[in-house]
Symmetry: C2
Subunit: 308 residues, 2 copies
C-alpha cells in the first residue's frame, strides 16, 4: 500500500509540478491501483513510473475543476489502446458523466473495457471484503468531495506451533482454523480456530481530500488517518486569500491533521507562485502546527506502514 | 515564419513524442502564433519552449480524435489564467464547439478573453491583408481537414538610389511611392511609385494536413507548398494497414509531396511502435520518393525561407 504523487501543483501545470493526480497503489492488497483526480497529462506522468494503466481499477474525482479532470478522457482512451480489458469505475460529483461521455463520443473513442461512472452522494460509496470508501462534502467553489479509504482489519496469523503442541498436524483443517471456524478432529476433540489466531492486523486509513477551505468535514474524514493528503494552495500568511478562493493555507492543513489525530500529513496542490526555494518554508509552516507534515513532490512515493 | 513541432506522435503519448500539435510562429508577420491541433499536454510542451500562450491567435483543429483535441480545454483555460486577453479563434469540424463548451462549462472555466469557435466547411476559412487559409476534406475515419496557409505577396522594396538619381529626395512622398502610388513633385513632374519598386516578395505557402489516407485533396492542398507537414503513421511496407486504419505510409507522404511539387516535407504522427533507431530508416523511405523529406521530432523548429 503506497501513495505515489503524480501531480502536486495547483491550477495550471508547471515544470516541476503537474496538476493534480495521486495514485494509491494496492498491488499487494488487490492487484490494483486507485487514482485520485486526473489532471491533464496524468497519463504522461504515468509514463515515467512503473504504473500500468490497465491496473487502474478505480478513479475518484474530488471535483470538476479542469486541473483535476482534463486528463481523464486521454487516460481512459490510452488504457483501452494499451490492452486494458478489466472494468474501470470512475466516482465523482454530478457532471463527471457528461464530461466523460461527451469527450469520448465526440472523439469516437470506443473503449475495449467496461466503464462505469458513478455520480456520488455523501456516504459509503464503495465496499467489499478488503476496503470501504467514504465520501463527504468539502467547502470549495463548486461541489467537492474528500475520500476516506478504509482498509478492513485482517485476521491474525494462525499460531501453528500451539496447534502442533496440541497434536493438531498441518493439513486441510488448517484452512478452516485460519478462518476462525471450529473443526472436529478424528479423535473427537473440537478445536476453535479463533483460539489459535494471533492478534488481528488493523487496517490502515488513507484520507485524500479535494480542494477545500478549512472545514469540519475535512477533520471528520481524517480522524486517526494513517495518512492525510491535504491541499495547501497558500502559505500561512494568506488566510484571507485562501478563504476568498476556497482554498487552505499550510497552517490550516496542519490544523486539520492535528485536530483529526492523523499520523502523517502530505501537503499538495502547491501554487506555482511558490518557487522551489520556498518549499521547505511551507513545509515548516505546517510542521509548526503538526510535526509530521511533509511537502509532496511529483513522483514522491510513500510506503504506508502497518499499524503496530 | 517558423514551424515548431510540439507533438509528433500518433494515438497515445510516448516519452519522446507527444500527441499532435504544431505551432506556426508568425511573430514577425503578425505578432502571433497559430496552432494546428492540440493533443493532451500541448500546454506542457509549450512550457519547454519560448511560446507564450497569450500569443496564440488561432487554433486549427484537423479532426476530433482525442490525440488531436484533448489538450484544448486546458490550454484555453491556462491562456486565460496567464493573462491572455486578446481574442482567440478555434477552427475545426462540427462537434468541436460542443467539446469545448461542455469541457469549459462543466469545469466552470470562465475565460478572460473572447473565444470564437468556428465549425468549418471546405473553402477559404480565413482571409485578411496578410494571410488566407484554405481547408479541404481528407480521407480519414471521421471528418478531417487539411489546411493550406497562404502568405500574401508583399510589395517590393523602394529603389531609393534610383529615386535620388532622378532628384527625388527622401521625405513624406516616399511613403506614397512605397505603396505604388503616383505623386506630383514640386517641379511638376509625375512619378509613379510602381516604376521604382523592386520585384514583389512572393508569399510562402505552408500546408498542414490532418490524419489521412493518400488522396487527391492532399495533393491539391500541397501544390507548390514551401512546406508540407504530412502524417506517416506507418512504414513503407504497411500500405494495407495504413489503408485499413485510414492513415498513410512514409512512401505515400513522399508521393503526395512529389506530385504536389512541394519544396520540403516533414513527416509527423509517427507511431510509437517505431523506436528511435528506426526513425532514420523511415525518413529514408520518404526520401526515396521525395528527396527533401525530413522526420519531425518534438521541439524541432524550421525557419521557412523566403522564396528566391
Ligand atoms: Zn479546485
Ligand atoms: Zn486520427
Amino acid at each position: 500500500m503506497e501513495l505515489l504523487f503524480l501531480g502536486t501543483g495547483a491550477g495550471v501545470p508547471a515544470k516541476l509540478r503537474n496538476v493534480t493526480s495521486i495514485a494509491l497503489k494496492l498491488l499487494e492488497e488487490r492487484g490494483a491501483v486507485w487514482l485520485f483526480d486526473c489532471g491533464e497529462a496524468t497519463q504522461h506522468q504515468i509514463l515515467h513510473t512503473s504504473l500500468k494503466p490497465r491496473r487502474i481499477e478505480k478513479i475518484f474525482i474530488t471535483h470538476l475543476h479542469g486541473d483535476h479532470i482534463y486528463g481523464l478522457p486521454g487516460l481512459l482512451g490510452s488504457r483501452s489502446f494499451q490492452g486494458g480489458e478489466t472494468k474501470l469505475t470512475v466516482y465523482g460529483p454530478k457532471g463527471i458523466k457528461d464530461f466523460i461521455e461527451v469527450s469520448l463520443s465526440i472523439s469516437r473513442t470506443h473503449l475495449q473495457y467496461p466503464l462505469e461512472v458513478v455520480e456520488i452522494e455523501e456516504g459509503v460509496i464503495f465496499q467489499d471484503e478488503g476496503f470501504s470508501v467514504v465520501a463527504m462534502g468539502l467547502d470549495h467553489a463548486l461541489p467537492t468531495f474528500g475520500y476516506r479509504v478504509i482498509e478492513k482489519d485482517k485476521p491474525g496469523v494462525l499460531q501453528v506451533d500451539q496447534l502442533r503442541d496440541r497434536g493438531v498436524q498441518p493439513g486441510p483443517l488448517y484452512k478452516k482454523l485460519k478462518c476462525g471456524e471450529t473443526v472436529r478432529l478424528e479423535d473427537g476433540r473440537e478445536i476453535d480456530g479463533k483460539d489459535f489466531l494471533g492478534p488481528s492486523i488493523p487496517g490502515r486509513v488513507v484520507t485524500i481530500l479535494g480542494d477545500t477551505r478549512f472545514c469540519s468535514n475535512a477533520v471528520e474524514l481524517s480522524k486517526s488517518a494513517d495518512v492525510l493528503v491535504h491541499e495547501a494552495t497558500f502559505n500561512r500568511d494568506q488566510e484571507e486569500m485562501a478563504r476568498e478562493y476556497y482554498h487552505s493555507t499550510t497552517k490550516q492543513a496542519g490544523k486539520t491533521a492535528l485536530l483529526a489525530g492523523a499520523r502523517r500529513l502530505f501537503l499538495t496542490h502547491i501554487s506555482s507562485r511558490y518557487a522551489k526555494e520556498s518549499w521547505e518554508e511551507l513545509e515548516k509552516e505546517a510542521r509548526d502546527v503538526f510535526p509530521e507534515s511533509y511537502m509532496a513532490r511529483d513522483f514522491m512515493e510513500y510506503d504506508i506502514p502497518l499499524k503496530k
